[in-house]
């Protein structure tokens, strides 16, 4: 139920030739979009920094857990029993050579290990959820945009309806409803699946809308007309003509959806429906930090900054990627 006429669909409308457009067209000659994007990206220091951080984070998530301590092991000898917070360290964080990021109040679990393991969960859930959103969104978007008519109407209305749902509430409710063993899964396996499904399923309309718009404009392009006039079947046009042209927007919006999903996962964990403790998660750590942040502020700051840095890195990289692939948006 958005605007009756999509006057705002800037991505879908052909742009009037700008002063530079003619020049751009010439420059592009002889190089593929990928090459140009790479050239542009290489010059974008900020985006590159983001990319490097993202790579490092992915590396940490994959191999990090093999290099850190057991994130569940208690070190209660490091806890001051009277105040129930770590002994010593900067701001009572318990930071020491053995525990570079300090230890958790009450249990003395190593924070570095928990952050590293938390990264794995965070990235795993957000990547899988993004993948799911992208797959559903692309299929729905292409279908709606390409076939038009009532198919488009139904899918578009479905997307509107999805956008009218209070997602966070639904996610919490869903996770709560299937709390204990269902569909042949249990514990964290179930929880991670539910998180992925919930986050992925509720986010597809964002991608779907973009893909639909792109498909709409591609459908009217000459090369598609050409293919169709030569008798190409729908499937051929969809997979050989349209899909390849959607790779760039899909790539860009996936990259930008990942940080959104990281925040979503963290919010769910914060509200107590993320992965089940003791499995470490960043949002879960922030929940535990709420009652104690005034006496042990580092316990709040560390997971908060972990979320922040990760999301920022993905956003910087995604922004850079978009700028590189879509010169207009600069």
């Amino acid at each position: 139920m958005a605007a009756p006429i999509e006057v705002s669909g800037s991505d879908t409308e052909a742009q009037p030739e700008s002063v530079l457009a003619g020049v751009d067209r010439k420059k592009i000659q002889g190089r593929s979009l990928g090459q140009i994007a790479w050239l542009r990206l290489k010059r974008d220091k900020v985006a590159l920094t983001g990319a490097v951080v993202v790579l490092v984070l992915i590396l940490i998530a994959i191999v990090g857990p093999y290099f850190v301590q057991d994130p569940l092991a208690y070190h209660q000898n490091l806890i001051d029993p009277t105040y129930n917070r770590p002994k010593g360290g900067f701001w009572h964080s318990g930071i020491s050579a053995d525990h570079p990021l300090g230890v958790e109040p009450g249990t003395g679990r190593d924070m570095l290990a928990r952050i590293v393991h938390g990264a794995r969960i965070s990235l795993l859930v957000s990547f899988l959820a993004t993948l799911m959103s992208v797959v559903i969104g692309t299929i729905m978007g292409i279908t709606a945009g390409y076939f038009g008519g009532w198919v488009d109407y139904v899918i578009s209305r479905a997307m509107d309806a999805f956008l009218a749902f209070p997602l966070l509430l639904f996610a919490i409710a869903l996770v709560g409803v299937v709390a204990d063993g269902a569909f042949g899964l249990s514990g964290n396996g179930l929880r991670v699946s539910v998180l992925v499904v919930v986050i992925g399923f509720f986010n597809w309309p964002y991608i779907g809308r973009i893909i639909r718009g792109q498909t709409l404009s591609l459908r009217e392009r000459e090369f598609v007309d050409a293919a169709r006039s030569m008798g190409a079947r729908n499937s051929y046009v969809l997979f050989k003509e349209i899909l390849p042209n959607l790779v760039a927007p899909i790539l860009v919006y996936s990259t930008l959806l990942i940080p959104t999903n990281i925040l979503f996962e963290a919010a769910l964990s914060f509200l107590g429906v993320g992965v089940i403790p003791p499995k470490p998660s960043w949002g879960g750590m922030l929940t535990l930090a709420v009652p104690i942040y005034s006496s042990d502020p580092m316990y709040m700051i560390i997971p908060g900054m972990a979320i922040f840095i990760t999301v920022l890195a993905f956003n910087l990289f995604g922004d850079g990627l978009r700028d590189a692939l879509d010169p207009r948006s600069r």
């Binding site: 605007a3 705002s8 009037p16 908060g304």
Partner: protein, 337 residues
């Protein structure tokens, strides 16, 4: 115009039906799908002595023994004609539109929602003012000063803004401004505007700013991108070619075209927020719809959850309609129909 509004309202009702159906399905049907029996579900609501009779009574009282479809039908019926509710010696009538009674407190849902709505509205509308003012002005200046240090700094701050979890920003701001430097009252100090305007304002400053920071960051980016695009439009070139001063070009020609699509986004955002800002309300202890929703989910108070969901969806739908009507006013190309 009138026909359009009627058609949109019918569409809205259908949409709300869909939303209620899905919500109902998730809460009443999914648990059964996941293998819970009606007795097990009812056991969650009987209190401390879950005897057989008590469970049976609970099932009957809450209508859980009916098939889900019948329960949904009852729910819709109550919305249209109201509902009687046995509260013991007295029978409570809940007039249409009746959204049922809480499974936990037996309060009429609508009454509770209306009681909570002002807090959420105070939060959402106040924050909206802050973020629109902040986000749009930063976005416009950034677009006009594209590539300058200001632009880069503003955009990095904006990107940071959207990268920070709001509960984290909220906690940090509470720690800084409420507990360390005691400028603002802490969380949970909210009082209704009608009770105590001063406290109302003071208690909402931090939540407004925190919430607005996130959105302002988003809107600054949106505005900047839109502005850059608009400034490349032919009609901007025409405006310049006419010899209009740059200020007129920006404010009269560019800004209006930039803000029109942002209005749609704003409608969606505000609509969602009016249904409850879950994280902000939780962090700052504001007794709004978002907290009600979380509390209700945690206690399995299904009618209440259903109520909040419908209120949120309604506010999105209604605000969208308003935005679309406004859109037609702002953009003459849009014809309602």
């Amino acid at each position: 115009m009138f026909a359009y509004i009627v058609r949109r309202l019918i569409g809205a009702v259908l949409m709300l039906l869909l939303v209620s159906l899905v919500t109902f399905g998730i809460f009443f049907w999914l648990p059964k799908l996941a293998g819970q029996t009606t007795d097990q579900i009812a056991a969650g609501y009987v209190g401390k002595a879950p005897t057989k009779e008590a469970i049976q009574d609970t099932k009957e009282r809450l209508g859980l023994d009916e098939p889900v479809v019948v329960q949904y039908g009852e729910y819709l019926k109550a919305l249209v004609v109201g509902k009687d509710y046995k509260a013991g010696p007295v029978t409570d009538h809940c007039p249409a539109p009746c959204m049922g009674f809480s499974f936990r407190s037996s309060q009429p849902v609508l009454e509770t929602l209306l009681d909570r709505a002002p807090a959420t509205a105070s939060l959402a509308l106040g924050a909206a003012v802050v973020w629109l003012a902040g986000g749009i002005s930063v976005g416009v200046i950034s677009a006009l000063k594209r590539g300058t240090l200001w632009d880069r700094a503003a955009m990095i701050i904006a990107l940071s803004g959207v990268s920070l979890p709001i509960y984290f920003t909220g906690l940090v701001s509470l720690a800084l401004f409420s507990y360390s430097i005691k400028i603002f009252p802490g969380g949970g100090s909210y009082l209704p505007l009608t009770t105590d305007p001063v406290t109302w304002f003071q208690s909402l400053v931090l939540p407004w700013v925190t919430l607005a920071f996130l959105y302002a960051a988003m809107y600054a980016r949106l505005t900047r991108a839109g502005m850059l695009e608009t400034m490349n439009e032919d009609y901007i070139r025409t405006a310049r070619a006419k010899g209009l001063p740059e200020k007129t070009v920006v404010t009269k020609h560019a800004l209006r075209a930039t803000l029109t699509p942002i209005m749609t986004v704003f409608g969606l955002d505000l609509g969602l927020l009016l249904g409850g800002a879950v994280l902000t309300e939780s962090t700052f202890g504001i007794p709004g719809l978002g907290r009600l929703a979380i509390d209700s989910i945690n206690t399995g108070d299904l009618p209440m959850v259903l109520g909040v969901t419908l209120i949120t969806a309604s506010s999105i739908v209604v605000i969208n309609l308003i935005v679309d009507l406004l859109y037609a006013v702002v953009d003459p190309r849009v014809r309602l129909g």
